[in-house]
């Protein structure tokens, strides 16, 4: 157990193991994504009220779920890098931010596209939408802070502190935005509750959520590999890898 933990700190080992994980995970993810998309887009019944427009749920919900989870992955990686001074956790944290920001952005854009036919508007100041927008700002803040430092080691530590502050704050932000909404206007728009969804629509959705998690993992690992190569570009093993 501990030797595994220590090996995680070694860039060449992580580079190798992530390469062999990606070799089967990436094709599997693509197959699952295609299967889920085809199942959801072609083989489920149209919604009673929303017709075919609801099908964007198969992109929208998975992106939103994984975007949220991604922040916690980033925060845990940040905590590990602060506590155990583990370089690879720092790499993971840095690699999380753009992936999470992209997923949050996808969730917001698909939400807007979905909102136009069903609610008649691109944007409403709904509690959930607003908190997703704030999540995007949190991701972008981490990226901006990292880029502002010239000393990348300090940048990693500073971002780790910021993500930890963010984890304490995310529940507060979510709760407060929820209350803000309920205080100002009656709940005129409700997202369909997950439990009220028909099983024939739920299963492809679950498959898509699973695929998006896998996609996140793939993107994270690929991003990490790039970052490892960038940081270790002066070491022998990278020179051998590139030169050979």
């Amino acid at each position: 157990m501990w030797s595994f933990f220590h090996k995680l700190g070694s860039p060449p080992w992580l580079y190798r193991i992530s390469g062999s994980i990606l070799r089967w995970l990436l094709p599997l993810t693509l197959i699952a994504l295609c299967a889920g998309a085809v199942w959801g887009l072609f083989y489920t019944a149209p919604d009673f009220r929303q017709g075919n427009s609801y099908r964007i749920i198969y992109i929208h919900v998975p992106a939103a779920v994984v975007a949220l989870a991604g922040y916690y992955v980033m925060a845990i990686a940040g905590a590990v890098s602060l506590i155990w001074k583990m370089k690879m956790a720092d790499v993971a944290m840095k690699a999380c931010a753009p992936v999470g920001a992209a997923l949050t952005f996808i969730a917001l854009v698909t939400g807007a596209i979905w909102g136009k036919p069903t609610w008649g508007t691109w944007w409403v100041w709904d509690a959930r939408i607003t908190s997703m927008l704030i999540l995007l700002f949190l991701y972008l803040g981490v990226i901006a802070l990292y880029e502002a430092f010239d000393n990348k080691e300090a940048a990693g530590k500073a971002c780790a502190v910021l993500t930890l502050v963010g984890t304490v704050n995310i529940p507060i932000i979510y709760k407060s935005v929820d209350w803000w909404y309920s205080l100002h206007q009656p709940a005129s728009i409700k997202f369909t509750g997950e439990s009220s969804i028909d099983p024939s629509m739920l299963y492809p959705l679950l498959l898509m959520i699973g695929s998006f998690y896998a996609l996140f993992t793939c993107a994270l690992l690929m991003n990490m590999r790039l970052e490892i190569l960038r940081r270790e570009s002066r070491t022998g093993w990278v020179r051998k890898l590139v030169g050979a």
């Binding site: 602060l82 704030i134 700002f137 949190l138 972008l140 803040g141 901006a144 802070l145 502002a148 430092f149 000393n151 080691e153 300090a154 530590k157 500073a158 502190v161 910021l162 930890l164 502050v165 963010g166 304490v168 704050n169 507060i172 932000i173 709760k175 407060s176 935005v177 209350w179 803000w180 205080l183």
Partner: protein, 228 residues
């Protein structure tokens, strides 16, 4: 010479910060002037209809207080970082938690407290209902203290960077949002005839949480910035 006790030390630190601030009265006046000027922008931008201004007044006053706080956050540690006294503080045997609290308290006394005290003037100018003014002051007193603590985290993270100003806003504005929601909701509640106590209680809870955790984050961030 024996080292002073923690309380005596932080008391001296607080006094030093206040003396430094009082020696430059213009710096104390600037946030208040900013407050006054931005208040003028709203009638100019939204139109001088009293009913409209009065209905937006809680939000307007709170947003301006938040921005005024944001503008002062950047300076919290900058001077001491540049002349090296921050490094001395980190090397001293005093608990960083308490020292950091002294910094934030000094900053709050010359910004948040003053903003809260002058806010009734601007509230009257915007036509806010008289009954809401005590709640406005109370919400600003509690809320700006949270803002100062959270702003301290941003200031500590960016103190070593030359281009801190814009970055600190991007980092801490998301964390300011809950405070804004409950601060303006408290004032709004009184205007619409509802009790403000729940909102003030939540602001108080946020202050407790921020008091407990923010100095830890500020301390960690200061060490990182000074090490860099």
């Amino acid at each position: 010479m024996s080292a002073p006790g923690t309380l005596a030390f932080s008391g001296r630190l607080l006094r030093r910060q206040l003396v430094l601030a009082l020696r430059r009265p213009v710096d104390i006046g600037n946030p208040l002037l900013f407050f006054a000027m931005v208040v003028v922008l709203f009638p100019l931008g939204l139109g001088p209809v009293p009913a409209a201004l009065a209905s937006f007044a809680p939000g307007i006053l709170w947003i301006i207080a938040l921005l005024a706080n944001l503008l002062t956050a950047d300076n919290l540690f900058r001077g001491d970082f540049e002349d090296g006294s921050l490094e001395q503080l980190l090397l001293s045997p005093q608990p960083l938690y308490i020292s950091v609290l002294a910094y934030v308290l000094a900053q709050w006394l010359v910004t948040g407290l003053l903003l809260a005290l002058v806010s009734p003037l601007f509230a009257v100018m915007l036509g806010l209902a008289g009954a809401a003014i005590p709640v406005l002051i109370a919400s600003l007193l509690l809320g700006t203290a949270v803002l100062s603590l959270v702003g301290g985290i941003g200031a500590a993270l960016t103190v070593g960077l030359n281009r801190g100003g814009m970055l600190i806003a991007l980092l801490i504005l998301p964390f300011y949002m809950p405070v804004l929601i409950f601060g303006s909701a408290a004032v709004q509640a009184v205007v619409s005839g509802m009790p403000a106590a729940p909102h003030l209680a939540i602001l108080g809870a946020m202050l407790c949480l921020a008091l407990a955790l923010a100095p830890l984050a500020i301390g960690a961030a200061l060490r990182i910035s000074v090490d860099a």
